[in-house]
Amino acid sequence: EFRRFSLERSKPGKFEEFYGLLQHVHKIPNVDVLVGYTDIHGDLLPINNDDNYHKAVSTANPLLRIFIQRKEDADYSAFGTDTMTRKKNVLSNVLRPDNHKKKPHIVISMPQDFRPVSSIIDVDILPETHRRVRLYKYGTDKPLGFYIRDGSSVRVTPHGLEKVPGIFISRLVPGGLAQSTGLLAVNDEVLEVNGIEVSGKSLDQVTDMMIANSRNLIITVRPANQRNNVVRNSRTSGSSGQSTESSLPSSTPNILHEEESDEEDIIIEDSGEPQQIPKAAAASESLESLTQIELLHESTQNGFLPSLEMNLNHSAGSISMECEVRDPDHKSLEEDGTIITL
């Protein structure tokens, strides 16, 4: 099925809105889809976040070809360099199944189908000497596995160098989450916990904050070893090293206090089966409940599937679409019936 519609090039909006728009124009509101586009080299590249979406829009000349596939039968191998030229081979593979058998495809899942255990975030807004690490605890049995202690560090202040008290990582438990990420090390100084500065807080306070945030712990450290710092220029080389979590320079608590999908409390009614407690329906009685809705929306976005065992080698049933990015003076969305088949 083909759809053709226009988009304002200067204001492409967010990926989520675009995704919603795609679902809308295809009238598939509840179908999870993979979105891809062909860049100028003819490669089929994924669109799954704001950055590559903006990149895609900027490459439109003036037409942008977007392919969408139903997620459950998406062909992940379709993405990558030379994919469009390889397409023919794909077709020939389909035509000649024996060929297919000879070269079993190495399946690499989509990034969003992995469950992340840790990430370095906010590289773009932090000083190079700092590192903001996010540890994802979820329901795993793996312990977070680290200890903190009091210590002192030297700071440059208006009065010269001053020794100030600080909180440091004192020990990593072998096999624990913290150690397995390789992003935290003994003697790293803890500067923030989920966006809140720890300076002036006691060891016990910081402990309580970390435990309270243990399901989605974001700690900003000054690594004891400063040689492995992320080089900030890597930003221009695509979306890989970048933060998708937050892009505001000020680290207000609200930004880092995202809801985690499995934060939900559990209810057992009348000795029945345990269930997650849902969010109350949106009542417009307070601003708080509004933010709850947004957060709920976000958390569905973060709903990760355990995907390693999935057979991803389906291409049938996928739908593709072509959209055109029009000149800025065309304001409204249009839909026309140009249909291209694969």
């Binding site: 605890k137 312990p143 977070l144 596995g145 680290f146 200890y147 903190i148 202690r149 009091d150 210590g151 004192s170 020990r171 913290a178 916990v193 989920n194 809140i196 807080k201 006691s202 060891l203 016990d204 306070q205 910081v206 402990t207 309580d208 904050m209 970390m210 435990i211 309270a212 945030n213 243990s214 399901r215 712990l217 608590p253 206090h257 499995d262 934060e263 939900e264 409390d265 559990i266 209810i267 057992i268 009614e269 009348d270 000795s271 345990p274 407690i277 849902p278 969010k279 109350a280 329906a281 009685e285 307070s286 601003l287 708080e288 409940s289 709850q292």
Partner: protein
């Protein structure tokens, strides 16, 4: 209301917040911790108490209280009021003198420090030269005589503290005319006492520690009389007419000396060792008071026979043939006698003796036969047995109030009827807005009922739960049963008794229903007592039930204490709260939560193993629920195993230390020099230090899991009439929250009143909520359709609350140590939350709903949550939207017992212990504020003198 909901700075809300909330620490209730000095002004009729932390507190008529704090926080050694003035001088242990004044400021008196001064000697002189040992404020009110360790007496001018060097009384000058043989035997040593002649202000009596006493003439600067005492001097006391004085001594004797113009070196009239002939302890202070009938009152502190009664803290009163040695429960700091201070009166006629002991204040009525004690209206010793818990009930109905007072008055028959003798100043504070009760539970199994309505925390009634149980203690163990001819005639006075017979009796939880007079009390050995107020003495059997909270848990071994044995048969109870039901939890672990519903006649209780519900009408256990996690081995074995392991590790570490000490000693051998020993010790210390450095304090960061220990510990229980199953029918329910973040809800079926005795109460578990963050649940609350917390049982029936809104949907508020969460009911879905710990690193320790009224308009009030955190901060959080309103630092975070002892009232006030014996009262409300406000006026006589202050000396001279 809507406009208040938006976050950020809404000016309207900000203004309203200023009208609603205000933080003040208003008054300290109870007995000052570690008192160190006592002073009294017969002129102002005010008493002053100094403490080891540098506080000085003034007390007069009930409600008249002042407090000052020395910046240095040093021990107050002495307090002296300036005669006929609103001023006092304190001497601290750093040898500094401080002048304090009561000044009127905006309609009330205030205590302020005016000047401070430290006596300085000439350069190079030893510090003892100026170490002040005795202080005499002269009746001229212009100078202060300061006796020192060197024996010199310095004169300083008031209020400037300027030293008048030409008037210094040196020990050389004193010794000039002392007989030589006496002089050779002993030097002057320090000045022990300075006393002004009662009739002639130009003469002062100087007593030196070695025994020499001289009468010094201030006009001519010379000694007029020498009194050659042979015993080490402790104190001096002038008789009223100035013809004699008494000296008391280290060997337990006192001596009467005549003062006449004929004999300049008189012999003692009488020398007596009251508790001789065996060696006695020192008499440190003595009063000799004349009466109309001629028989004097001799009152002295100490002097007990050293060998057999040397450990007693006694003050003896001798009046003719009557003699009593009052035996105090703790060390006597100081005492004074209240007597007629009219200069024209011929006799002293003492009326009362006020004794400041280390742990309590005791006042003895000397006018009434038998010298009974007077019940103090303030300075109550809260810690006479250690406080284990407290419970506050606001706005007590008058009827209940009167019944409690009447029960209490029957207990206080042995007290004197004398009006409180220390009655200076005027209380001008408005009457307390309502009758409030503070209930304190104690280690000895008693509950004390305090009138907490006003500034004076006053004991109304004392309830003991001990009678229900069989204890080792002999109930007839009465200290006062001494035979007629006992010598010395000791009489125990005071209530301080920190020694508990059985720690299992300790009270842990209290719940009083102010409408029905039902009281539930729970203790350390899993005992839960339900009581009813009875105005008469009664004898009855207490119904007894056992609640097995483990049910079908296997492999359980309780290693803790045994349950309390109960008295068989009927027990006699005095008027007041009388127990009628006893439930004993099995295993007998400490009761950690308690709730009483007086309308449904149900009591719920929880321990570290589970919780149960008891129907105290039918006297039947309704159900028990075990909350133990199967993997919680620690809880399964009982809490003592953990204590044991701690003990074990302590013991091991001690052993390690001892071993290393021994080995180092062994190495030393016999011929080692002291320096080597020191070296070895230093090395040992260094090693220990290094070991400490090697293992710094570190904290494990780990998410809580279901397997953590003590998750089954029941932290909170709550009764609510709400929509538990469906939104059309509401029903009684019981809610329980555990240490592991679980909330259980039980649907209850309570038969209607007419069939209440016929049908059983039924309960069925309806919901179980597991908070994913697994923090301990410390509070559960249901909000009605208008988001107002459900009223207390019987509150609506007594027309004291609007009935709850059962039309709109109810909401459930669950407060854990880390988060506040609002859920909808009956279908549980999460609505709102406030993550306190994640944002601030603090944890909820105490939480209560408090009603805050506006100080501007009478018709506005709102309910908020008052929260105390583990950092000692108090936060006010709005309901139902969970917005932080305001935050005040209140208790130091290191003060763990202060934080643990905090109770909030329903109207935004609170109490916490600042010492074992003192509650600090604070207020978060602008409207309800109980604080001392009082005036001390200078009586007429002196205001004249005050005007002619300059001529004070002449006046005084004329008087003589």
């Amino acid at each position: 209301m809507r406009r208040f909901l938006r976050p950020g700075h809404d000016p309207v809300r900000e203004r309203l917040k200023r009208d609603l909330f205000q933080f003040n620490k208003t008054v300290e209730h109870g007995f000052p911790h570690q008192p160190s000095a006592l002073g009294y002004s017969p002129f102002l009729r005010l008493m002053a108490i100094g403490t080891r932390s540098g506080a000085v507190k003034l007390y007069g008529a009930p409600g008249v209280e002042f407090m000052g704090l020395h910046e240095e926080n040093n021990t107050v050694m002495q307090i002296h009021f300036i005669p006929d003035q609103c001023q006092l001088v304190t001497l601290l242990d750093d040898n500094s003198l401080h002048l304090w004044s009561l000044r009127q400021h905006s309609g009330a008196s205030e205590l302020r420090e005016e000047h401070r001064f430290t006596l300085k000697g000439p350069p190079g002189s030893p510090p003892s030269a100026t170490q002040v040992t005795a202080v005499l404020p002269h009746s001229s009110r212009e100078v202060l005589y300061l006796g020192t360790e060197s024996g010199n007496i310095f004169v300083v001018e008031l209020p400037s503290f300027r030293v008048l060097e030409d008037r210094t009384i040196t020990s050389e000058a004193v010794l000039q005319r002392v007989p030589e043989d006496y002089c050779n035997r002993r030097s002057c040593e320090l000045v022990e006492a300075l006393r002004e002649h009662p009739k002639n202000p130009d003469q002062i009596l100087i007593g030196y520690s070695r025994g020499l006493i001289v009468l010094w003439d201030l006009q001519n600067n010379k000694v007029t009389h020498h009194f050659l005492g042979s015993q080490q001097l402790e104190n001096l006391y002038w008789q009223r007419d100035g013809s004699k004085f008494i000296s008391c001594h280290y060997d337990g004797s006192y001596t009467q000396w005549p003062v006449s113009s004929e004999n300049r070196q008189p012999e003692p009239l009488e020398n007596l060792v009251p508790y001789g002939p065996f060696p006695c302890k020192a008499i440190s202070k003595i009063y000799w008071q004349t009466t109309k009938n001629g028989l004097p009152y001799v009152i002295f502190q100490g002097g007990m026979p050293r060998a057999s009664y040397g450990d007693r803290h006694s003050i003896s009163v001798v009046h003719g043939s009557q003699q009593t040695a009052f035996d105090f429960t703790s060390r006597v700091i100081d005492f004074f006698v209240i007597f007629s201070s009219e200069p024209t009166a011929e006799f002293d006629d003492p009326s009362a003796m006020v004794v400041l002991a280390e742990e309590e204040l005791v006042v003895i009525d000397l006018k009434t036969a038998g010298w009974p004690a007077v019940h103090p209206p303030y300075l109550a010793s809260l810690h006479c047995s250690a406080i284990t818990c407290s419970h506050h009930v606001s706005n007590i109905p008058l009827k209940l109030w009167e019944r409690i007072i009447s029960a209490g008055s029957k207990q206080n028959i042995h007290y004197s009827n004398m009006p409180w003798p220390i009655d200076g100043g005027t209380n001008i504070a408005p009457d307390p807005p309502q009758r409030d009760l503070l209930l304190t539970g104690h280690e000895d199994g008693t509950v004390r009922f305090w009138d907490a309505s006003g500034v004076c925390l006053h004991l109304l009634y004392k309830l003991s739960t001990v009678r229900v149980f069989l204890t080792d203690a002999d109930p007839n163990d009465n200290m006062n049963t001494l035979g007629e001819d006992e010598w010395p005639p000791l009489r125990k006075v005071g209530t301080f008794d920190p020694y508990s017979d059985d720690p299992r009796l300790g009270i842990q939880k209290i719940y009083l229903c102010k409408y029905s007079g039902y009281l539930a009390v729970a203790g350390t050995a899993g005992q839960v007592l339900v009581m009813e107020l009875n105005d008469e003495d009664a004898e009855h059997v207490v119904d007894h039930a056992e609640a097995d909270l483990l049910q079908d848990q296997e492999g359980y071994r309780w290693k803790g204490h045994e349950k309390l044995k109960t008295q068989d048969g009927s027990v006699r109870f005095e008027a007041g709260f009388q127990p009628f039901v006893l439930v004993q939890c099995q295993p007998p672990a400490v009761v950690t939560s308690l709730a009483l519903h007086s309308e449904w006649k149900l009591v719920a209780f929880g321990t570290s193993h589970g919780f149960g519900l008891f129907d105290h009408q039918q006297k039947r256990l309704v159900f028990v629920k075990c909350t133990l996690h199967p993997s919680d081995q620690l809880a399964l074995e009982g809490p003592l195993s953990r204590v044991k392991s701690l003990k074990k590790s302590l013991r091991q570490s001690f052993r390690r230390i001892r071993r290393s000490r021994v080995s180092s000693r062994k190495r030393q051998g016999g011929s080692r020099s002291a320096s080597e020993v020191q070296e070895a010790n230093a090395k040992f210390d260094q090693d220990a230090l290094q070991e400490m450095e090697l293992a710094p304090v570190q904290r494990k960061i780990e998410a809580r899991s279901a397997e953590d220990s003590f998750t089954g510990f029941v932290r909170t229980l709550y009764f609510a009439d709400t929509f538990l199953r469906d939104s059309s029918r509401h029903c009684p329910s019981l809610w329980a929250g555990t240490n592991g973040g679980t909330v259980y809800a039980f649907c209850l079926r309570v038969p209607p009143a007419e069939r209440r005795m016929d049908e059983p109460v039924r309960a069925e578990q309806a919901k179980e909520i597991q908070l994913m963050h697994r923090a301990p649940v410390v509070g559960i609350l249901v909000l009605d359709g208008r988001s107002i917390p459900l009223p207390e049982p019987l509150e609506v029936a007594h027309d004291l609350s609007k009935s709850p809104d059962m039309q709109g949907s109810h909401q459930l508020l669950v407060v854990s140590e880390e988060q506040f969460k609002v859920f909808t009911l009956p279908k549980v879905s999460s609505k709102l939350k406030l993550k306190l710990t994640a944002l601030e690193g603090c944890r909820v320790r105490k939480v209560t709903v408090a009603n805050f009224g506006s100080c501007k308009t009478d018709d506005y009030s709102e309910n908020d949550l008052a929260v105390l955190t583990n950092l000692g901060d108090i936060q006010i959080i709005s309901l139902p939207f969970l917005k932080l309103q305001i935050r005040y630092p209140c208790i130091r975070k290191e003060d763990v017992s202060g934080i643990a002892s905090c109770v909030f009232t329903k109207y935004g006030q609170g109490f916490y212990l600042i010492s074992p014996s003192e509650f600090e009262r604070f207020s978060l409300s602008t409207k309800w504020l109980v604080e001392p406000r009082c005036i001390v006026d200078i009586p007429e006589v002196t205001s004249n003198n005050h005007v002619h202050k300059k001529s004070g000396m002449e006046n005084a001279a004329r008087k003589s």
